[in-house]
């Protein structure tokens, strides 16, 4: 079974180290706007959430792409964009249910998480262990049941 980026928002302190390292590795600069992972900060509850591509098994971005520019990396299962084929129609960015595929207007590129080829930098640089790279199992999700109440508050604010 392939590994996934597993996020534990309750551990996230909102320091944005992941955004910085991600943009640096992929775009050569420290620029959160070019990071594939983004911290969603809910100010009232002081809650931060690292939002990143879920590498869905049926991926909306891949399904809607008219030219097949998005494919599955055999080694990691990551959905990756071939920029030479991509038309920049942005359909994938509207279709992604998690807003994880987006358009970098300054560089005219569709960007999304590629799992760094199997060794995700955000995982290595998160000081609080909020992102890990592990086998996708339902058990992993159950662990966080206790935090349901916190999430409820968060979503009230999100609306």
């Amino acid at each position: 079974m392939s590994k996934v980026l597993f996020v534990e928002p309750e551990k996230c302190t909102g320091c944005r180290s992941c955004e910085l390292i991600c943009s640096f590795i992929h775009a050569g600069e420290f620029n959160p706007l070019r990071s594939r992972i983004s911290i969603i900060a809910f100010e009232k509850t002081g809650f931060s959430f690292p939002a990143v591509c879920q590498q869905c098994s049926v991926a909306a971005c891949m399904e809607v792409c008219p030219v097949g520019a998005i494919s599955v990396d055999e080694a990691t299962g990551a959905k990756i964009v071939n920029h030479a084929v991509c038309l920049r129609c942005k359909m994938c960015t509207i279709a992604c249910p998690f807003g994880a595929t987006f358009y970098d207007a300054d560089h005219d590129l569709i960007i999304k998480c590629d799992l760094c080829g199997g060794d995700p930098e955000c995982v290595k640089h998160c000081p609080s262990g909020a992102i890990s790279y592990r086998e996708a199992k339902t058990a992993n999700y159950n662990k966080r049941r206790a935090n349901a109440e916190k999430f409820r508050e968060v979503m009230e604010e999100g609306r």
């Binding site: 909306a60 399904e63 809607v64 008219p66 520019a69 030479a84 084929v85 920049r88 279709a95 998690f98």
Partner: protein, 246 residues
């Protein structure tokens, strides 16, 4: 299949174009009308190379983007003659788009003579046809090449707002000379004489897509129907993880 390119032997797949082989092998060939999403059109002639196939006594000039490799051959991608052809193409295109950064740069690189500018519509259009093909790939075919000869230009039928156009602007983004105008302000996007009222995010109110784009997505599956902007969809992910837990 053995193909010699500029004196070096390479391995080609039968039937692939000269350009595909060269791209894979990292041999540069300039192009205008080629795109990896739909291949070559053989329209701009910028990709001309010399080829001498097995059994031929002399080499010929062919468009690398459309010429399929079917037998052992020798190819030359840079020569005096090829350089001259490319210089002429750049010189002619610079008449239409001389102020465009791309043509400015190429004119300099090829040492193309400066000819008086001619005014074209849309300004800077070099008629490469990439926009037409991009739109066709989107399944819309809203724009086409209209008229002939010097009057030839890319447009929607009768220059009217086309029912087929969904305002995705893929045409504008593949354009190498940025000749296609897209205007976006708050609640509207304008392209090809059509004004699109943008749909706003149901949670935060931000305008993020045209209604036609959302219709396109719904035709391709259950996509884009939450009517949420990118940021609110990210927030949705937080919510989804919550529902996972129950």
């Amino acid at each position: 299949m053995k193909i010699t390119v500029n004196g070096q032997e390479r391995e080609a797949h039968a039937g692939e174009s000269i350009l595909d082989l060269c791209r894979r092998e990292g041999i540069p060939i300039p192009t205008f009308c080629y795109h990896q999403a739909f291949g070559g059109q053989g329209a701009c002639r910028m990709c001309m190379v010399e080829i001498k196939e097995d059994g031929q006594s002399r080499s010929r000039l062919v468009a690398a983007c459309t010429y399929p490799l079917t037998k052992t051959a020798e190819i030359i991608t840079e020569s005096e003659q090829i350089q001259r052809i490319r210089r002429t193409i750049v010189m002619l295109l610079a008449r239409r788009a001389g102020e465009n950064p791309l043509l400015e740069e190429l004119s300099r690189a090829y040492g193309a003579a400066h000819l008086p500018a001619i005014t074209v519509e849309p300004a800077n259009c070099i008629l490469c046809g990439l926009c037409i093909h991009a739109c066709a790939e989107m399944g819309r075919s809203a724009i086409w090449s209209m008229f002939r000869g010097v009057d030839k230009r890319i447009a929607t039928p009768y220059d009217e707002a086309s029912d087929d156009c969904m305002g995705c602007a893929a045409c504008a983004r593949v354009c190498p000379t940025q000749a296609i105008k897209v205007e976006e302000e708050d609640a509207v996007r304008k392209i090809w004489n059509k004004t699109f009222a943008l749909v706003s995010c149901s949670r935060c109110g931000k305008y993020y897509a045209t209604r036609e784009e959302l219709e396109y997505l719904s035709k391709h599956g259950d996509f884009g129907q939450q009517q949420l902007c990118e940021t609110c969809r990210k927030k949705n992910l937080a919510y989804n993880i919550k529902t996972f837990q129950q």
